[in-house]
């Protein structure tokens, strides 16, 4: 056999990083370069990554659909959410209804709500059970949302999933890289300041300076926030208030058919990033990426990808359950 060919195929499935992630790296080394030229010396900051056990990371952005290799690995694709109307004759659908009701009011109300909610607790040997609806495509590009059930040992030593056969498959190596375990996430959440401005400053330091990055990062933290203290949980909502241009959609339906409130912001690439929350409890229901400005999106789209239309849902997913259990297979 050809040894060199075997080496070439080894880890060949590693996809290229998306533009968001490369842009974030660019920001980091140029920040260090600038600091040096202005007389200060700084090494690139070790930015905590958002790679959590719940929810897709915001750094994928619409790149989930853009990078073919990654989309193939993930089994996701450009999708129309079932809740959305079919494209009309002009191939467009109505953009999500955005109310002008202040997002600030809603966010502050949610902050007060979660401020009285006790945090979930877990032991290192327990497991976090997560059930999500995630998109799958068949060969013809038809999208179907299927449940995906997984278990994460809190200390990160093992992970498990519900296999196609219905059996629980345990991967003994767990988080074999440097990825964060649920416990590490909880420690990170606990380390965050509870003053909204200090929290936002910290988020900008860890995720990038722009409002877009800070918004994405805060949304990701909110997806894990059941393990945050009430004070931290409330601060996450209050820090969001400090970010400009956040919009509120007061009735959004997620891919599981549940009604909620959408908190969204338009990204520089022309997509709207939206997180859907339970309007009463503030709990995370789902998220989606919707085309806001098709011209801008299409301008940066890789060639083989078909053009998108305003209002098109590029990605959507829903979180159906997340619970602390004692062993994989329990729900």
């Amino acid at each position: 056999m050809n040894d060199l060919r075997a080496v070439r195929e080894f880890r060949a499935e590693v996809p290229e990083a998306g533009p968001d992630r490369l842009a974030a790296i660019h920001d980091r080394w140029t920040a260090s370069a600038d600091a040096t030229t202005s007389g200060r010396s700084r090494t690139p900051a070790a930015t905590p990554r958002i790679g959590s056990w719940l929810g897709r990371v915001p750094r994928l952005g619409w790149g989930v659909a853009a990078t073919g290799a990654l989309a193939a690995v993930l089994g996701v694709a450009v999708v129309f959410a079932p809740g959305d109307a079919d494209p009309g004759p002009q191939g467009t659908v109505a953009a999500p209804a955005i109310t002008t009701v202040s997002s600030t009011q809603f966010l502050l109300k949610m902050a007060n709500t979660v401020a009285t909610r006790p945090a979930d607790h877990s032991r290192p040997d327990q497991w976090i059970y997560v059930k999500q609806l995630i998109p799958h495509t068949d060969g013809a590009g038809k999208v179907e949302y299927r449940p995906a059930e997984s278990w994460w040992r809190v200390d990160g030593k093992q992970t498990a999933r519900l296999g196609d056969s219905g059996a629980v498959e345990i991967a003994p190596a767990g988080l074999a890289g440097d990825d964060r375990s649920p416990a590490q996430w909880q420690r990170y959440l606990a380390s965050l300041p509870t003053d909204p401005q200090a929290l936002l400053d910290r988020v900008r330091q860890d995720a990038g300076k722009s409002d877009e990055k800070a918004f994405s990062y805060l949304l990701a933290l909110l997806r894990e926030a059941t393990f945050a203290s009430p004070a931290t949980n409330a601060a996450l909502f209050r820090a969001l208030v400090l970010i400009p241009d956040i919009q509120l959609a007061d009735d959004v339906v997620d891919v599981a058919g549940r009604h909620g409130v959408g908190i969204s912001r338009v990204r520089a690439d022309g997509t709207r990033q939206e997180q859907i929350l339970n309007g009463t409890s503030g709990a995370y229901l789902g998220q989606r990426t919707v085309v806001e400005d098709a011209a801008r999106v299409n301008a940066t789209r890789p060639e083989p990808a078909p053009p998108v239309h305003n209002g098109e849902v590029l990605h959507a997913e829903a979180c159906l359950a997340t619970t602390v259990v004692n062993k994989p297979g329990q729900r």
């Binding site: 980091r28 080394w29 959590s52 995630i134 995906a148 890289g177």
Partner: protein, 200 residues
Amino acid sequence: MFSRLVAPTQDDDVLLIQRSIVDSREFGALYARHAAAIHRYVVRRLGDAVADDVVAETFLIAFRGRARYDSARRTAAPWLYGIASNVIAKQHRAETRMYRAYLRAGVDTGPEPLLDRVENKVMAAAWQRELAGALVQLSAKDRDVLLLIAWADLSYEEVSQALGIPVGTVRSRLNRARRKVRSALGGSNPMAVGEESRDE
């Protein structure tokens, strides 16, 4: 914005680097041209978690050293891979940990977020475990040469430029590395190697 950076011009790398000495923003075009490939190489070698740090440091070092770039070299890829190799060397624990992950359980640790990864986790084939076992045992110098050729698609001459070693040394290190890989893949349990599926 990055969208500005991802539209590379047709200029040679050397022109970009020379212009960047006057206007440092020109270096952004060089980044746009090479960052994705360098980043992927780093993720393949070290796993996802430390890759962003390593790539940022690589380009920072390159940026600071841009005035010393050898203008006889039209493409900067070997130069950048050479710098990346030095930065990767400082992360050998991450690299070892990644290969050992294959050895322990044969679980791929791709860079997807955890949830997606668990969905796609597959038990690594025996050949992947054996290959990981061989890679982890190579000397760092031999591994650099082997992977710059197999993963970064550099030529012998380019590897020689990247690592600052003679072409003859590139050949001898590559031969030694390949010998070890061959013996690992054809090792104790030929049935598990999956030769049937991997041979032409």
